[in-house]
């Protein structure tokens, strides 16, 4: 693997006594798309906020290494971090309805980001905002650039947010559930758009989602998180075709199949989300629990090369799909 664009090693995030992320490690090459999957509270969003240094809760404690283009981001001064945010790493959030400041025009907000990082005239920034809006598929962008967020539909706002995120050509785009708040047709359009932009701009993408369907559409690599830990990691084919962790099995079973007999009810993962006190975080909800699970399994390569999982199950009890 060439020099990774982003390498996270042993990231730990605590809020007071509560551990939100417990030793997360992954790497991402330039231009790659990493899908981070997990249910609410699995630590996927908060670990990405940590990459941008946006965890501001008092009492939060972040440790480990976050190396971006060979530079340690953790512990960077705020002014230095600001030049990374928005310019080298951009982030898109879940709800496009509230992600834009309601009192400024869309174009103004895009231009604001451009001018925060580059010395360009207001006129030039605005022209670029028009081009960006055009690129993300907003009709008649010269007119729409002066519209306010409330004059856009949800899908258009998400396009505008993406245009803003791309305005400084970031090397990495973190998208936190960018399609969750949108209807299915719009979801597909936004995913299409992100795929196209990735081809045009060459940005690497971290796609945070709980939707296995979205991951299968766009990701090269998949990271499955549970209870603040990575439980499985591998190429998309590996994770989808030979999933190794019981939690991943559960996630994949919860997606309805197009082919084959129709299930009367989709199988659910029993129990409520949340990590076990000690040992394997998934142990409390796992049907395959046995004695070794009282100790937390490390993320180790047990399957094909590059396919890692954190589970003690012996090979003969693993399931093949």
């Amino acid at each position: 693997m060439p020099e990774p664009l982003l390498e996270v090693r042993d990231l730990r995030i605590r809020f007071g006594r509560f551990t939100a992320v417990d030793g997360l490690s992954f790497a991402l090459g330039p231009g790659e798309v990493l899908g981070v999957v997990g249910e609410s509270g699995s630590g996927k969003s908060v670990s990405m906020l940590a990459v941008l240094g946006l965890i501001r809760t008092p009492g939060a404690h972040v440790s480990g290494n976050i190396v971006f283009r060979g530079r340690e981001l953790l512990g960077l001064k705020d002014a230095e971090m600001r030049s990374v945010r928005g310019r080298e790493i951009a982030m898109i959030f879940q709800d496009p309805m509230t992600a834009l400041t309601p009192v400024y025009t869309v174009g103004w907000q895009i231009a604001e980001q451009i001018r925060a990082h580059e010395k360009v005239s207001a006129r030039a920034a605005r022209d670029r905002a028009v081009r960006l809006l055009d690129e993300v598929g907003i009709p008649s962008p010269e007119r729409r650039v002066d519209a306010y967020p409330h004059e856009f539909s949800g899908g258009m706002r998400q396009r505008a947010v993406i245009a803003m995120a791309l305005s400084c050509n970031p090397a990495l785009l973190i998208a936190d559930e960018p399609t969750t708040a949108l209807d299915v047709t719009t979801q597909a359009q936004i995913l299409d758009l992100m795929r196209r932009l990735r081809a045009d701009h060459g940005s690497a993408i971290v796609m945070i989602t709980h939707d296995m369907g979205v991951v299968s559409e766009i990701a090269d690599e998949v990271l499955v998180m549970y209870g603040g830990r990575a439980v499985e990691r591998g190429a998309r084919r590996q994770v989808f075709h030979t999933p190794r962790h019981p939690y991943t099995w559960g996630l994949l079973d919860s997606v309805p199949r197009v082919r084959g007999p129709r299930a009367r009810r989709l199988p659910a993962i029993p129990g409520a989300p949340g990590a076990a006190e000690r040992g394997c975080p998934f142990a409390d909800r796992c049907a395959h629990r046995f004695a070794p699970c009282d100790e937390a399994p490390p993320l180790t390569p047990t399957g094909d090369p590059g396919h890692l999982d954190a589970c003690w199950l012996p090979e003969d009890r693993r399931r093949t799909r």
Binding site: R82, A90, A99, P102, E112
Partner: protein, 322 residues
């Protein structure tokens, strides 16, 4: 935007008309009251009563009476006080307006600056000691009644410490602008501060709450993710949105104060403003004066509301199309 402004002021004119009709009806069409006697003054002789009756049209239908009353109020300006016969009502009000306006405008500037500064400081410094300290100061301001604070201020500056620290404080009363800006401001300084303290506390608390809410909004997170400075995120994004409810409250408060709600401050500091005039008229049941001041107050409340709505639309694009 222009269309919105025109529509808004058109509506305001309509409201003013409705108020004038209502006030007229309450004062002059209430059964059992002889309006002519009210207007002619105490112990008027029958001849005068008859003359008033004819001149105000009290023997004619109500709409005509209304029009004649408005003519006396706004065109000929010859409505006279019921208590002090011969004193014209309108010139009295016109004389009182600059006093009240000077008091309220000055106090408003002070409380807006102070309130916004305190609210922003507390909102931005949440989690530190500064926040509760500033808020405590705000509660302090809110809890001091104007009549008490004003009297204490007077006691200290006019009497107890007048020979030492506060020898520069002029005697109570109003100095018109024609005596120079310096004298004008010097006479009004303590009334301004007294009146502003209460409102600064209210506004600081309100703004802090708004700002705390705004800082948790998604758009603030977006602004931070854009790489903007914390200062810009705070002022251009969070504060800008938090000011919207402040402006609407300001309009109401300002209108009410100019309309006579600054009465306590005016009485305590001996300022002959509209509040004081109304207060005196109420004590004597001087109906013509009360009617004049009520219409005047209504005018300012309605005007302030219209101005606020226009400013509101300027601040919040979502309102413009409504």
């Amino acid at each position: 935007m222009i269309g919105y402004i025109l529509r808004r002021f058109g509506a305001a004119a309509l409201v003013l008309f409705a108020i004038s009709v209502l006030v007229f009806l309450i004062f002059f069409a209430t059964p059992g009251v002889d309006p002519a006697a009210r207007i002619a003054g105490k112990n008027a002789d029958p001849a005068t009563l008859e003359q008033v009756r004819a001149s105000f049209g009290f023997d004619r239908p109500l709409p005509v009476q209304y029009l004649m009353m408005m003519k006396h109020l706004f065109v000929t300006h010859d409505l006279t006080s019921f208590v002090n016969r011969g004193t014209l009502v309108i010139p009295q009000i016109v004389e009182a307006i600059p006093v009240t306006l000077s008091l309220v405008v000055g106090a408003a500037v002070i409380w807006m600056v102070l309130g916004v500064a305190m609210g922003t400081l507390a909102g931005a410094m949440r989690g530190t000691l500064i926040d509760p300290l500033v808020m405590l100061l705000g509660v302090f301001g809110v809890s001091l009644p104007v009549y008490w604070l004003g009297e204490v201020v007077n006691l200290l500056t006019q009497k107890q410490l007048h020979d030492s620290v506060f020898s520069w404080v002029p005697p109570l009363g109003y100095a018109p602008l024609s005596q120079g800006v310096g004298q004008w401001a010097l006479h009004l300084l303590l009334p301004w501060l007294t009146l502003a303290l209460l409102y600064a506390g209210i506004y600081a608390r309100l703004l802090r709450g708004e700002l705390a809410g705004a800082l948790n909004e998604d758009y603030v997170r977006t602004a931070r993710a854009k790489g903007l400075s914390e200062r810009r995120v705070l002022l251009r994004h969070a504060l800008r949105c938090s000011l919207i409810p402040i402006v609407s409250l300001f309009g109401l408060d300002f209108g009410a104060l100019v309309g006579g709600a600054a009465l306590l401050t005016e009485v305590v500091f001996g300022l002959p403003g509209v509040g004081k005039l109304t207060y005196q008229a109420l004590q004597n049941l001087d109906l013509p004066v009360i009617m004049g001041t009520v219409l005047y107050a209504a005018f300012f409340v309605v005007l302030a509301n219209a101005v606020v709505d226009v400013v509101y639309a300027r601040l919040d694009p979502r309102v413009r199309r409504a």
